[in-house]
Symmetry: C2
Subunit: 525 residues, 2 copies
């Protein structure tokens, strides 16, 4: 009765003979499983014979280096500017306060347990190193909702400024291009490009993909409404028949430009499944700090980095600048200080390395954490997590991916402008930033003004320990290799020394690479 598989694949034969490990190895060699430059916990074999590594910065790069170097037998010391570890892996919790460059202090007045991640806020499924450290260090993860088809696409210049549901634009755009391509194919326009057999498969696929009717038109009906949503949604009992919705005219969809956000959750960095730590991104920093906190000297502002053939000596003062200069030294130094800061520190670097350090601008970025009295986006609009995109300067609104359906106040990300548009917020007082975030957001959620409770903002060019959001390469092809060289006895690490700028995965993998090269030098000379 069962259709027995008519042939066994090579894989099944390998599997029968050799068990699943061999089979998985075979799959990998067929190119189907290989994916990540991270292949599990780093192995640093060989005795470093008490060599000491001085690490500058206790962000994820610095703490990764410290954790693994100590495990490999090194003596390790970390100098950290702040009073706690984590760097940009940072969460503002209820009761925290934060003073930005310029002196403005914000008290975080959120309800107990509420929080806001000013820095990284989501973890892609393919950031294998970060995920593996979360696993090893016991950080509990929950899904971060990136793509929510019931959230909005909004343009001030389309649909009279009325936000549209993502699913409406998504289905209507997909239907519109499928309809056009079916017409062109039927008209013979693709006879040269597509063989007859492929043409048949193409037409069948367009009918499915565009949700076209039997005449290959994208046209109002039940089938289509099952994708774009209904005018009246189906229910139970009497009078429960759904009513189909009216698709938007394709020319209107095109001219709205709202299609320009349809791939936001289709890029690998944003593809479902994504994660966030339960309780805030800084749970990752805290888990690392639990391991290496005893190696960290806090509140140390590095003022000078000297090196010679024998090692590295760093001078530092208290972060408030008042204490007497002290020194720390090591045989080697892993420097994770952002180049935006490092370029202002007197350091014995080669002229080539100094030039790379001096020529890296840092990205602008602003984030707003807004707390409202209730989850009106869930209660009134049925938006559970995910992101609304807008052409207003706030660029997006991201709804919390946790505590769904709970009562009481909740915090959403009220905007994440980056690049040039962020500068207007950099120049404002914290109060004005919140005022404008609310003003813009209320064009999408009119409940904003009535429901607002409190807010906090972080403009990254005013963050004292980074002076920017993440490193930008002016010419990565020309300069990247230099940044990854061992410069005398100093190695650079951090997101800025990676092809994953701004991502925690970049910081961690750059640190793993740096200490692996350092260890090789120590062991093999």
């Amino acid at each position: 009765m069962i259709n027995h598989p008519t042939r066994r694949s090579i894989l099944s034969m390998i599997g029968a003979a050799a068990g699943s490990s061999a089979m998985y190895a075979a799959m990998t060699s067929l190119g189907h499983a290989a994916e990540s430059p991270y292949n599990g916990p780093i192995k640093l074999d060989g005795d470093p014979k008490g060599a000491k590594v001085l690490i500058l910065g206790a962000g994820l790069a610095g703490m990764t280096a410290a954790l693994e170097l100590r495990a490999a037998g090194y003596e390790v010391e970390i100098l950290e500017y702040r009073e706690k570890a984590g760097g940009r892996c940072w969460t503002l919790h209820s009761g925290d306060s934060y003073t930005e460059l310029g002196g403005a202090t914000q008290k975080v007045d959120f309800a107990e347990g509420n929080y806001f991640n000013p820095g990284p806020w989501r973890i892609p499924h393919h950031h294998h190193a970060l995920l593996d450290y979360c696993r090893r260090l016991g950080v509990t993860l929950e899904p971060f909702i990136q793509g929510n088809q019931n959230a909005y696409l909004h343009s001030s210049n389309a649909f009279d400024g009325k936000p549209m549901r993502f699913r409406e634009i998504n289905a209507d755009y997909r239907g519109g291009i499928s309809d056009l391509l079916a017409k062109a194919t039927n008209a013979g326009a693709l006879d040269e490009a597509v063989s007859p057999a492929d043409r048949e498969a193409l037409m069948a696929s367009l009918k499915y993909y565009g949700v076209l009717d039997d005449e290959f038109n994208y046209r109002k009906g039940d089938h289509l409404s099952a994708y774009r949503g209904w005018a009246k949604w189906p229910g139970g009992g009497a009078d429960a028949r759904p009513e189909p919705s009216e698709p938007i005219d394709f020319a209107t969809v095109l001219q709205s430009k709202l299609w320009s956000k349809l791939l936001e959750d289709q890029v690998t960095d944003h593809q479902e499944t994504m994660f966030q730590p339960v309780g805030g991104m800084d749970r990752i920093a805290a888990a690392f700090e639990k391991q290496v906190g005893d190696l960290i000297k806090y509140n140390c502002k590095v003022t000078q980095i000297r090196q010679n053939d024998g090692g590295v000596t760093v001078t530092y003062v208290g972060s408030d600048g008042t204490s007497e200069p002290r020194t720390a030294s090591g045989d080697w130094c892993v420097c994770t200080i952002p180049f935006s800061i490092l370029s202002q520190i007197e350091a014995d670097l080669s002229s080539e390395m100094q030039s790379v350090v001096d020529n890296m601008p840092y990205a602008e970025g602003t984030k707003f954490g807004l707390e409202f009295k209730r989850r009106f986006w869930e209660q009134d609009e049925h938006i559970y997590g995910g992101i609304t995109y807008t052409d207003l300067p706030i660029t997006l609104i991201s709804y919390p991916s946790t505590g769904y359906q709970s009562d009481g106040p909740a915090v959403l990300l009220g905007g994440y402008p980056w690049g040039a548009i962020s500068n207007q917020f950099t120049a404002m007082s914290p109060q004005d930033r919140i005022k404008w975030a609310l003003e813009y957001g209320s064009h999408i959620h009119p409940q904003y003004m009535d429901e607002f409770k409190t807010g906090v903002s972080v403009v990254w060019h005013r963050v004292p320990w980074t002076l920017g959001c993440y490193g930008l390469w002016r010419d990565r092809e020309a300069n990247y290799d230099q940044a990854t060289k061992i410069d005398g006895r100093i190695l650079m690490a951090g997101e800025h020394v990676s092809y994953l700028p701004a991502w925690q995965e970049g910081a961690i993998t750059s640190a793993l690479d740096a200490i692996s090269r350092l260890h090789d030098r120590v062991i093999n000379g």
Copy 2:
């Protein structure tokens, strides 16, 4: 410095004058927020003066009716066939046992805390009534991952049976049709269908949507790899530059037919965000049962339903058929017994209603809960929740949307064949079903055989209390209205009396509709 919004929308003006409630009402009247036939908790005003309603079945429909009718002042009694409430809202937990029609008993040998939902397993974001009951009754929800771009699309007849990542087929199909439509547009094939201004927007949109190069070709490169995945993924430190992957030839994509699963997470019922209760779907049943458990008589097998102008009298025996017949009665009866069962019970129904009851086949459906020693899909293949689709008879594999990265055994849904393909499993012994689920699944995950621990299967035509998965309408247009009529003193409710067949939302909203009509009759005659 800020671009002040140059004009205020109607909504903002309303908002300034009247606060957010008025504004939200205005939005709704503009058609932008209206969405659900469920508009919050039901209100049953007026005194039923002690009228008694007898409810048959303690699934979600029956318990919803009981909860709301008691709150409105009715006397309520529920007869339930099983030893517990919930009906198809059902979870098999470690330690449970289940005896199917035919007598085979399966012991659920999962590790402590592991479970499997044989019935409903996910909650769409627009199932407002169900979500609202979860909120009111304190059922904690977590995201159910439906669409996972790192899961597989698999066909025995394509790519030598090798599973492909969803993201690869997704990006390459989207790129392929965008490339073709751009070519057709450039060749003038759409000059009549599309105005010059729209043509420009169309080309810009295709370049974005298809990730085309400057010549509007879908061609190997970094930009494209950011969507379909990389040959070598980006990392940090030296030698971290990513390498672009090779897109699949479009004709191969078309002939693979794997595009036929690309919209699985695009239909409203499966669109992100979806939910599941923490701990198993039966947490919903348990939450209802906590409210109305005192009204339920368990282990009652209804044998006869009599009615006259004065009320309804039901005869029942013990579920094992051994006890003496007893009776229960009410002024009215809400009958949630599936028509597959009701058609076998002697009942005083109008001939029109009896005909509807007798002519509803029930859908086939089989589910496999397979427990493995470890989460190899996460550890080896980086698949966190979501669904792999296959043309093998198991049809899909759904990975657990909970406990990510945890050690120890975990349970996945090893298949969900429904319709005709399910029948082959109905005929097998539970042992053989698991054997075949493993055999088929191992074509996708060669780790299956080595890592398998234990499994359980439910074929819905062998479930004694439903004899099928959900009600199918032979001719809904002709017969639906009859099913929702008050038949003397009996009303039907359940997923089968809804436009949301198989869904819990259909059961709940049909019950709400039934009691609302019943109450109107009681109050207004």
